[in-house]
């Protein structure tokens, strides 16, 4: 149990967990000292989620021991874990959409709560750690980024001794991430241990004291990430040499495919953001990136582009010069537009339906999966299997439900489904959110290849590294307005951060609320 004479706060030894047919964890060792920020690195299916669920008491290990401050014990349930002082921020949020921020947080806490006091505490904690939140807003009106802030604040309110964070920065701006790193470093100085799961290797190098690397359910190594390069970390994680996505030459940009001309949309949601006179063009063969902090009109823009919300004035959106603003999703798909929405569970896919059915969901028209008005199940199955094969989706079979896939694998499936319909324009929201480095680089390469083959690509993302890695031009959305687009070579990450503007400060939530009502 000893680690150079110091008793670790949490120590795992020989943890093994088998699922039918898969050994998810095979003899894993992990030691986290107090005040240590410890990275857990691994690809999709490496066993990170399983291990974390065991630590958090959601799953029970088949064998192996868990020690807390040197004392072996059993963590029977998440409540037991919380009682010990383990807090967890999940990648998929567990929030009640119809309730307010305060009510959601109260639900996660033991005993009765004084709501007014709790709301005040929420504001205090969220300001202290730079995580703006309005306690009385309903969760369904919040963006992914804002929902994550609730989860973080919920954990911090309970004074955790060990904080588990599953890819927390994927929805934050660089400035916000930097603020959070400061928070985490401060927490670590106060003696809190942090288990940090991320695929952003630079981040891990900058933040973490130690890293444990898993691959294929096995423990590979423990190392000091500050002494490794991003490349060497990635190689330990994947086991092969990484190839960076090949960046496309800017010169082969073709004619304008999609043009938004003074695109405006009034949000039907009282806390939504109105889109205000957006102008942009996406040309064939280029990747156009839209950056911005969550909750600045991305949700509304994506709805307007996908046809889930149609425009009053059809001329505000033109495809190859023809107005399409009045068309619904099916009609737009018929014109060879494909979409990857922000939320892959429940929006991009039906969690309880099989991959076969989910392949049918958006592709039945373009792939002719209906014959004589009936679903051609053989052809649909072939299509689903094609996606799984071409996009390396790791699943036991296409009859399994979409909800049973890990986040990264489901994302590969959805991206694959949309790309294999051979779109001439593809609109992708957060293509690699919560996806590990291996899958992310595969998705990036697929996007780049698609553009190289003449498709126009629009990527909405909050991950600036990602936008810089793949896009040719970039614009920033803030409070429902879009900045002028800039060539990728002419703009730096810092400049974009500034364009995101006043929304990075702590009081931004108030500004957003004000803008929505204006």
């Amino acid at each position: 149990m000893d680690n150079n004479g110091i008793t670790p706060r949490l120590s795992l030894a020989g943890i093994t967990k088998a699922y039918p047919g898969v050994l998810a964890n095979d003899d894993i060792h992990l030691n986290i000292l107090s005040g240590e920020i410890h990275a857990l690195l691994g690809e999709n299916g490496a066993g990170k989620s399983t291990l974390v669920k065991i630590i958090y008491g959601v799953l029970k290990a088949d064998s192996g021991t868990i020690s807390w401050n040197g004392k072996p014990l059993e963590i029977a349930s998440p409540q037991a874990a919380r009682k010990l002082g383990i807090g967890m921020i999940f990648q998929h949020f567990s929030l009640f959409e119809a309730m307010t921020v305060t009510e959601n947080i109260a639900l996660g806490m033991p005993g009765r709560q004084n709501m007014a006091e709790l709301a005040k505490k929420i504001v205090d904690v969220s300001q202290k750690y730079g995580l703006p939140l309005q306690p009385d807003r309903h969760v369904h009106t919040l963006s992914v980024g804002e929902k994550q802030r609730i989860e973080i604040v919920r954990c911090l309110l309970q004074d955790p001794k060990l904080l588990i964070m599953d890819e927390p920065t994927s929805v934050l701006t660089p400035q916000e991430a930097e603020t959070m790193f400061k928070t985490l470093r401060r927490l670590a100085e106060e003696g809190v241990s942090i288990l940090y799961i991320s695929h952003k290797l630079d981040e891990i190098k900058a933040l973490c004291h130690k890293a444990t690397i898993l691959r294929g359910g096995r423990y590979i190594a423990e190392c000091d990430p500050t002494k490794e390069t991003a490349k060497s970390l990635a190689e330990m994680m994947i086991g092969t040499n990484l190839t960076a996505p090949r960046h496309m030459d800017n010169s082969d940009r073709g004619p304008v495919r999609l043009k938004a001309h003074n695109l405006s949309l009034e949000s039907t949601d009282q806390f939504g953001v109105n889109l205000n006179l957006l102008n942009f063009e996406v040309r064939t063969g280029e990747i156009f990136g839209i950056a911005g902090v969550a909750g600045n009109g991305q949700v509304e823009l994506l709805q307007a582009l996908s046809g889930e919300k149609t425009l009053e004035n059809t001329d505000e959106l033109l495809l190859d010069g023809n107005p399409i603003g009045h068309l619904g999703p099916v009609a737009r798909r018929k014109r060879k537009i494909a979409f990857v929405p922000e939320d892959r569970l429940g929006h991009g896919s039906v969690p309880d339906m099989s991959l076969v059915d989910n392949a049918f969901l958006s592709a039945y028209r373009t792939k002719n999966l209906l014959s004589n008005g009936l679903i051609n199940s053989g052809k649909t199955r072939d299509f689903a299997e094609d996606i799984v094969a071409k996009f390396d989706v790791r699943t036991a079979g296409v009859d399994h439900t979409a909800g049973s896939l890990s986040g990264g694998n489901l994302q590969k499936f959805i991206v694959g489904r949309e790309m294999m319909q051979e779109p001439e324009l593809i609109i992708i929201a957060h293509p690699t959110w919560g996806v590990d480095a291996g899958a992310a680089s595969a998705i990036h390469q697929a996007i780049i290849d698609l553009a190289a083959n003449g498709a126009a690509v629009l990527v909405v993302s909050q991950d600036l590294d990602e936008l810089f890695a793949i896009s040719n031009r970039i614009a920033v959305i803030a409070e429902g307005r879009l900045s002028a687009s800039r060539d990728i070579n002419e703009i730096s990450i810092e400049e974009i951060g500034l364009l995101m503007g006043g929304t990075n400060s702590i009081d931004s939530a108030d500004n957003q609320g004000g803008a929505a009502h204006a």
Binding site: W68, L73, V330, V350, F360, S362, I375
Partner: protein, 357 residues
């Protein structure tokens, strides 16, 4: 302290086992009920489940009673899958009987092979019309269809009563609140000589087959399932939620309407102030007991029909009140829902991590 939490992986096989388990629990608790009522439980259960189907006629009666249950439940199950909670099948059934039966009232002297088909079509139209009202209010004003469809049941029942007591009363009927007896060409053909088993049974089987085909193989069936399971994914795919609300309410109404017309032109043979012992409500139990699946619904429909027959037998032979039937049906639904909760959730005693020595 006891608390309930979601099971991480509910057992798939239990989904099909729970109806059987629910039935078993119903039988077990009804023995207590019978003992309290002063009847030997064995005799009572024998009267409920064995006596009614001892002969061929009993079996045919079972199918006669199952017919309207299956027709209504098939329609309801499609709506339930799409999260459209239509509980007004009883009213839609009544409107079907009014529209379908009304055709005969006004064309009573017509002797044509087209009379019955016209009545069936009008029955479906009447039921669908009654289903259209909640659909309109739901899609236009977001009015809760549970309330609107339920309230319309009582409107339909009163309308039926008004018609039978007033304009549709048999002119040669000594002022009894009954319509003319249906003529041969307005009556459902008998399938089995010497019994009351009629063409409606075939319609029920066709409805089940059609619903199965629709759900498994057609785009609209796929839309029903997607919108029920993940409405946002439905709108992402371009499926219209309003269209599905209209579709499922019209379909359920139409099928319930056919059930209504097949009752008045089948076993009843005329329009009476009361034409259904709550088939439309029992169909809700049938739909859930059949796991919203057409094949399951046929089986569940037959089972629930048996409780109607058994209730009558027990009333005649043992003097048990007819309310026992309702109690029986209620218990089945109660235990089914309870079992479903236990399949998806588990009880846990609150305990925190303890050090193991």
């Amino acid at each position: 302290m006891l608390r309930i939490e979601k099971r991480p992986e509910p057992a798939k096989s239990m989904v099909y086992l729970t109806p059987v388990l629910a039935l078993f629990l119903t039988v077990a608790s009804s023995t207590i009920l019978f003992s309290v009522l002063g009847v030997s439980p064995i005799e009572a259960l024998d009267n409920f489940f064995v006596e009614p189907v001892k002969d061929a006629y009993g079996v045919s009666e079972l199918l006669v009673k199952a017919t309207p249950l299956i027709l209504c439940a098939i329609g309801l199950s499609v709506g339930f899958r799409a999260n459209v909670w239509n509980i007004g099948a009883e009213g839609q059934l009544t409107m079907g009987a009014i529209f379908g039966g009304g055709v005969f009232i006004y064309l009573y002297d017509v002797d044509s092979v087209f009379l019955l088909p016209l009545m069936i079509v009008m029955g479906a139209v009447g039921g669908a019309l009654w289903g259209a009202i909640p659909a309109f209010f739901k899609t236009k004003f977001n009015a809760n269809e549970i309330l609107t469809s339920l309230m319309l049941v009582y409107v339909a029942l009163l309308l039926l009563s008004l018609l039978v007591h007033g304009p549709w009363r048999d002119p040669d009927g000594f002022n009894f609140p009954e319509s003319r007896t249906f003529s041969q060409s307005a009556t459902m053909p008998i399938l089995w000589e010497g019994t009351r088993l009629h063409f409606g049974w075939i319609l029920a089987l066709l409805a089940a087959l059609g619903a199965w085909l629709m759900l498994a193989k057609t785009l609209v069936g796929f839309q029903v399932k997607v919108i029920g399971a993940a409405p946002l994914a439905g709108s992402y795919a371009g499926f219209s939620q309003k269209k599905i609300i209209w579709f499922s309410l019209l379909l359920a109404g139409g099928l319930a309407g056919i059930a209504g017309v097949s009752e008045v032109s089948g076993p009843i043979g005329q329009i009476l102030p009361s034409i259904s012992p709550g088939y439309g409500f029992t169909a809700i139990i049938v739909a859930f007991l059949g796991r919203l699946h057409p094949v399951g619904i046929i089986l569940a429909g037959i089972l629930m029909a048996l409780t109607y027959l058994g209730g009558e037998t027990a009333q005649i032979n043992l003097g048990l009140p007819i309310a026992v039937t309702g109690v029986f049906q209620g218990m089945v639904l109660f235990f089914l829902l309870a079992c479903d909760v236990l399949v998806n959730y588990r009880f846990r005693f609150k305990s925190y991590g303890k050090a193991v020595s």
